[in-house]
C-alpha cells in the first residue's frame, strides 16, 4: 500500500466524518429485512429500496462524502501542503487517493445492496447491484474528487448534482439521463440481472462508454488542477 493511500485511509477513518457513512447503508439493509419480515411482496418494495434509496441516494451520497473527503479535507485543513511538498508527479497523488475513494465507496455500498438484492429477489440480483454500484463508485469518486479541486464547496455542488440533476431533472427531463451516472448504474445492474424492479433508460454501450469517459475525464481534470494548486496567503 502506498504511503499516500495509507495516509488517505488513516485520514478518512480518523475523522468523525467517517461515521456519516454508516447510517445510509444500514437503512437499506434494515428496510429490506423489515419488508421481508413483514412479508411484503418484493415487487412493492424492491424498486423504491434498491433503486430509489440504494442506487439513487446511498451510492452517490457515500461517494460524495468519501470522494470529497480524500483530498478535500486535506485542502480544508491545510495538511495537503505536506503531500504537495514532495517530488512526486501529481498523478501519483491523485490516483492512490482515487483508489481509496473508490474502494471505500464500493465496499460501503456494494455490501448492503448485495444483501438487499438477495432479500428482494436472488443472489444474482444481489451480485448485479454490487457490481453496478462498484462501477458507479468509480465514476462518482472521480467526479467528486475533481470537484474538491475545482470548487471550495464540493459537497454543496455535489449535492446539487445528485439531488437536482440526477434526482429531479432525471425524472422529468429525459435528455438529462444521458448525463446521469445513476442511469448508467441502473442500466448495468439491469443488464446483469434483468428484473421488473430495475428499468433501464439508457443503452448499455452508452452507459459503459459514458462511465469510462466520466472517470477518465475527471481524473485527468483532478491531476491538472493539482499541478497548479495555489495557496492563498492569509490576507487574501
Amino acid at each position: 500500500m502506498s504511503t499516500i493511500s495509507w495516509l488517505t485511509a488513516r485520514g478518512l477513518f480518523g475523522r468523525r466524518r467517517f461515521l456519516l457513512l454508516l447510517p445510509l447503508p444500514l437503512l437499506v439493509v434494515g428496510l429490506a429485512v423489515l419488508a421481508r419480515w413483514a412479508g411484503v411482496s418484493p415487487t412493492h418494495w424492491g424498486g423504491p429500496v434498491l433503486v430509489g434509496l440504494g442506487l439513487a441516494v446511498v451510492l452517490p451520497v457515500v461517494a460524495l462524502i468519501v470522494g470529497t473527503g480524500v483530498l478535500g479535507s486535506e485542502i480544508d485543513d491545510g495538511t495537503i501542503v505536506h503531500i504537495l511538498t514532495k517530488p512526486l508527479p501529481r498523478w501519483q497523488i491523485v490516483l492512490p487517493k482515487l483508489a481509496v475513494a473508490i474502494g471505500v465507496t464500493a465496499v460501503t455500498v456494494a455490501i448492503p445492496l448485495y444483501v438487499a438484492g438477495v432479500l428482494a429477489h436472488s443472489v444474482r440480483l444481489g451480485l448485479a447491484l454490487a457490481a453496478a454500484s462498484a462501477v458507479g463508485a468509480v465514476a462518482y469518486s472521480a467526479l467528486f474528487l475533481a470537484l474538491s479541486l475545482v470548487t471550495r464547496r464540493p459537497v454543496l455542488l455535489g449535492l446539487v448534482y445528485v439531488l437536482i440533476w440526477e434526482g429531479l431533472l432525471g425524472n422529468y427531463v429525459s435528455g438529462t439521463k444521458v448525463l446521469s451516472v445513476q442511469q448508467y448504474v441502473v442500466t448495468i445492474a439491469d443488464r446483469i440481472a434483468p428484473t421488473s424492479m430495475l428499468s433501464a433508460e439508457v443503452s448499455v454501450p452508452v452507459s459503459i462508454v459514458m462511465t469510462v469517459l466520466i472517470a477518465a475525464g475527471f481524473t485527468a481534470l483532478a491531476i491538472t488542477r493539482l499541478r497548479t494548486f495555489s495557496m492563498a496567503g492569509e490576507t487574501s
Binding site: 491545510g78 511538498t85 492563498a232 496567503g233
Partner: protein
C-alpha cells in the same frame, strides 16, 4: 551551493497587488523576511515554494522554476504558517511518511535523524494531537528537513511559541544556517529577526524596502526622527524651552497640545523631564505617536 533567485517578481489578486516587483537572491545562511502583517511575506514565500505562480517575473531554485515543478522539493523544504498536521499520526509516523514520500533509501533512519535534530525523540510515539504548539512546529520542521534539503522556508515559525520554544527554534535555525543551508524565515517581529539572522529582507506593502545586514538597517530604524505628542500645564512655554534643545528638530502647537519632532529618541526622552523641571512646567502626557511597526517600516521605505 543552492540559491533561490527572485527576479522582478510581482503577484496580484485582481486589482490588489500583493507583491510588487521584488528581486532578491538568497544564499546559504539564515535570512529573515521582515515586514508588517499583510505586507506580502506569505505570498512571497508561497511563490518561492512553488505554491503560487508569479503574475510577473521568475522565481527559480538553482535556475529551475519552482512553479509547476515538483522536482524542486528534492532540495527545498517548507514549513507553512498554518499549523496543519495529521493529528491522528504520531510524530514518528508523520516524519516517516514524509521520508517515504521523498523515496529516501532508508526512510526509518532519516525519520529518526530528523526527529533527533529537532529534539522530539522523547515524544515521537505520541499522537500529534496531544502536542503543544511548539512541539507541533518542531515536528513540522522535522518533516520538512527529513530529506536534508539545501533550502528551508519557514513562514512565521515563532508564532505562538513560548520563549523557551522560541529560543530552541532559533538555535536550530542557527545550526542549520551555519551548516551551509539556505534558510529563510518570515516574521513581523523585529526582535526575532535580530536574534536569528544577520541578513534581512524587509518588505512593506508588497515592496522590498530594505535588504542587507541587519545592524545597518537597525541603525536606520533607531536614528530615524521620532514624533511625540506632549501635553503640559503650559504648552507654549514648554515649546519655547524645548526649541533650545539640540535633540528637538521641530515643535508644533495646537489646541490639543504640542507635537514635538525629535532627531533621536534617547536624548529627547532624557531632556524633556529636565527642561520641564527647570521651567516649573508639569508634563501631563507624553505619547510617542509613531511607534507602530508599520511606521518604522514606512520610514524605511522613504529612507
Amino acid at each position: 551551493m543552492t540559491t533561490v533567485d527572485l527576479s522582478g517578481v510581482s503577484r496580484w489578486y485582481g486589482n490588489v497587488v500583493a507583491v510588487n516587483d521584488i528581486s532578491m537572491t538568497l544564499g546559504p545562511g539564515v535570512t529573515g523576511l521582515l515586514g508588517p502583517n499583510g505586507a506580502g511575506k506569505t505570498t512571497l514565500l508561497h511563490m518561492m515554494a512553488g505554491f503560487l505562480a508569479p503574475s510577473r517575473g521568475t522565481v527559480t531554485l538553482d535556475g529551475a522554476p519552482t512553479w509547476r515543478n515538483p522536482d524542486v522539493y528534492r532540495r527545498l523544504g517548507l514549513v507553512s504558517e498554518r499549523e496543519a498536521v495529521h493529528t491522528f499520526l504520531t510524530a514518528y509516523e508523520f516524519v516517516l511518511a514524509s521520508a517515504r514520500l521523498h523515496r529516501l533509501p532508508d526512510p526509518e533512519d532519516a525519520a529518526r535523524r530528523a526527529i533527533e535534530l529537532v529534539e522530539m525523540a522523547p515524544a515521537q510515539d505520541r499522537r500529534i494531537g496531544t502536542y503543544s504548539k511548539g512541539m507541533r512546529q518542531r515536528t513540522r520542521v522535522a518533516a520538512a528537513l527529513v530529506h536534508d534539503p539545501q533550502v528551508l522556508l519557514l513562514d512565521e515559525p515563532f508564532n505562538g511559541m513560548d520563549p523557551r520554544q522560541r529560543l530552541h527554534m532559533m538555535e536550530l535555525l542557527h545550526r542549520l544556517g551555519d551548516a551551509g543551508r539556505t534558510i529563510l524565515f518570515s516574521s513581523h517581529i523585529l526582535e526575532e529577526v535580530e536574534q536569528v539572522s544577520g541578513t534581512v529582507q524587509v518588505i512593506v506593502a508588497g515592496r522590498l524596502a530594505a535588504s542587507g545586514d541587519f545592524r545597518t538597517i537597525r541603525r536606520l530604524m533607531t536614528n530615524r526622527p521620532h514624533v511625540f505628542a506632549v501635553h503640559s500645564s503650559d504648552d507654549r512655554r514648554l515649546a519655547v524651552a524645548l526649541m533650545a534643545e539640540p535633540s528637538v528638530t521641530g515643535v508644533e502647537i495646537d489646541r490639543t497640545g504640542l507635537t514635538v519632532r525629535a532627531g533621536d529618541y534617547g536624548s529627547f526622552t532624557r531632556a524633556l523631564p529636565k527642561v520641564a523641571l527647570a521651567s516649573g512646567i508639569r508634563v501631563r502626557r507624553l505619547l510617542p505617536s509613531d511607534e507602530s511597526l508599520e511606521s518604522v517600516f514606512s520610514y524605511l521605505v522613504e529612507a
